[in-house]
Symmetry: C2
Subunit: 396 residues, 2 copies
């Protein structure tokens, strides 16, 4: 009944579901407060109250035919303009509504982008470890990922040299995810600059267009002095896929956008292609109420300090026990070296102590595991004895 | 920059945009009240007030972490259960939450369905005239439409004989759209029964599974005695793609579902495949606030009488002038025979009298044109002199 292409994907889903079911079983036996679930990326800081108030006000005052009706497939002009204004304010750019296409979150933003540029057999560069859903997105359009190996020595920065060696005439894009899931690393300006220069040379050498697809749902979640570079300042053919899922704690509402900068090749046709892809993929447009709410809330942010404290305490706690971790500069993930090669087996050990984590292999980063710390601070504190018990076996 | 696959789709979009721009030009010259726009399918009956009140109450009372957070890719259990209950109440069925997957509208419902069953080279039967976006959906997965010719003698009922002749081992599905866009026809039980029997024989003969994909966004918009048959009562391998866009006037909000009946082959795996496809296509889940609102509003309906009056008045008016029209039993479309073979040229004649319509060729139904009467009643009344002026040239 379902296609041969889908069957392995569905079986993969079942595996995740089994993990989820096991977590529920543990919670039933030990009580949910005694299970420390670091496996999910669901924000636990509530959305700002101003956003709720904006939604209520829109429902009370807006003409329902406009509020709930179709608009251009690219989204409401006022929302697109508000986003352009916000970006211009922050980056000194000159974007307008015409550079923005509203989407049902970053996942959908990446899909309409890929639908626009990819054909069967095309190649897209990804830097391991990475969010494996990218592979599924690419498979929708018959394209394949070309994986660049992880670079632990550099704190998991993208390996520009290996990237260059693997670019071919079929390379249509390079995916960057900054701040990074799963490592929590933030690529600084000098890394982006190097990568951009290398891609410019490659474009010239091959006479092709190679896009940077920059997946930036964690852009606003950065700590201390870390800064997320605005990639169009470094490289013209950049497409930014953004979501309010993390910055405003709205993952279920499916609202985000693609930014197509005016210096990118054929940007006007590209914007038209993205809106066409919104329609072709049946999404038609980003949900209308969410769009109008965002038009009023581009300046709001989630409580970053909350995640920063969780990340710092988890990092301090685990390194003190002997674990090697990447110090997170952003997002809400801690990337920890597994004391044994078999990261899945180590995650099972943690699970036996009621700690749920994700093996690095699930991100093409074997030998590591990911802790997602968008959890209560109590979860971080109370999980420490469990980590300690396991750590004692390895770091004695 | 954009792919060869996308370029013709984007150019097609430009053509629609040009028509839209021309309409705006006419409105600027003659005043918007003197332009009669029957080209769009955007409901003009406002969403029920109860729905707005439900959304406001949810925003005020629901925990924001639940309200705006991720849920299962298939949707909130309470929403899926409320929909199952509503269907059971209406059709005497025994559906549960497990048979429903929430989607970002019917277009997205069709895409996750197609993503689940189609592989490159597969064939899907469609009955002309039909909503041409289906072709784009199929092209996403490398599948091709097999078009059954229009059957004006039967009032544009599906031609079961031609369907049978065109089914091959590659046929994965038959798309039905009932009530129909663009004809406004409603296929009655005896037609569905015939079609179901023919498909059962074909499944047996070929040893394959052939799904009916039933696209039913207009299901609640039916007039007089017309009844929309519940296809799973006739055929097990039915997948219903539904949207609240028309029944609750929420097209911009992107909320709908797929129903997978428990008598369909491998339905549990199919439901899992649909939720996986929600994730793979980057939509992840239907927007969460809209889902929770629907859970409280399954019994609400839009003002059907409003559309019925528009349809009846337009039908009476145009037939009195000499036009041949299909008497609409549902949806909000009137399908009119063009007095000349070149339907696009005739639509241009109407446009010169400030009436905007859509040529039948845009639905693979040449020689006809479509009037979308989700407009104010004044538009129907005030457009009559324009129609009369053009009619006088042909029906004297």
């Amino acid at each position: 009944m379902i296609s041969n292409l889908m069957r392995p994907k569905v079986n993969g889903s079942s595996a995740i579901r089994r993990m989820f079911e096991e977590g529920k079983k543990l919670a039933a036996v030990y009580g949910p407060e005694n299970v420390y679930d670091f496996s999910l990326g669901n924000p636990n800081v509530p959305a700002p109250e101003e956003l709720r108030d904006a939604m209520i006000d829109i429902l009370k005052t807006e003409d329902p035919l406009k509020l709930h009706g179709y608009m251009s497939n690219a989204g409401f002009d006022e929302t697109r303009q508000a986003i352009a204004d916000d970006l211009n304010h922050r980056y000194g750019t000159v974007y307008s509504a015409a550079n923005i296409v509203m989407t049902a979150g970053a996942g959908s933003a990446m899909n309409i982008t890929m639908r626009s540029i990819l054909e069967p057999g095309d190649e897209v560069i990804v830097f391991a470890p990475y969010f494996l859903e990218y592979n599924n997105y690419l498979s929708n359009y018959g394209a394949v990922p070309v994986v660049i190996a992880p670079h632990p020595e550099s704190g998991f920065m993208p390996d520009v040299q290996e990237m260059c060696a693997k670019i071919t005439p079929k390379t249509k894009a390079v995916i960057i995810n900054n701040p990074n899931n799963p490592t929590g690393a933030v690529y600084p300006a000098e890394v982006i600059s190097q990568l951009a220069d290398a891609l410019k040379s490659k474009q010239e050498e091959l006479g092709t267009v190679i896009y940077i697809i920059s997946d930036e749902p964690y852009r606003e979640l950065v700590y201390g002095d870390a800064k997320v570079p605005h990639i169009p300042d470094f490289y013209n053919n950049t497409l930014i896929c953004y979501s309010y899922s993390k910055s405003l704690s709205l993952p279920g509402e499916r609202i985000g956008y693609v930014l197509v900068p005016p210096q990118s090749d054929g940007w006007e046709e590209f914007v038209l292609s993205l809106s066409t892809a919104n329609r072709m993929l049946g999404i038609v447009n980003a949900p209308s109420l969410q769009q109008l709410a965002i038009a009023r809330c581009t300046g709001l942010r989630s409580n970053v300090a909350f995640y920063e404290r969780n990340g710092a305490d988890l990092y301090e706690g685990l390194t003190a026990m002997g674990f090697s971790c990447v110090k997170p500069d952003g997002a809400f993930y801690l990337w920890v070296k597994s004391p044994i090669d078999d990261d899945a087996a180590f995650c099972d050990e943690l699970k036996n102590e009621r700690v749920l984590s994700t093996p690095g292999s699930a991100f093409m980063g074997p030998g590591y595991f990911r802790l997602s710390y968008c959890v209560s601070h109590e979860t971080v504190v109370n999980s420490m004895p469990s980590f300690k018990k396991v750590a004692a076996r390895y770091f004695g």
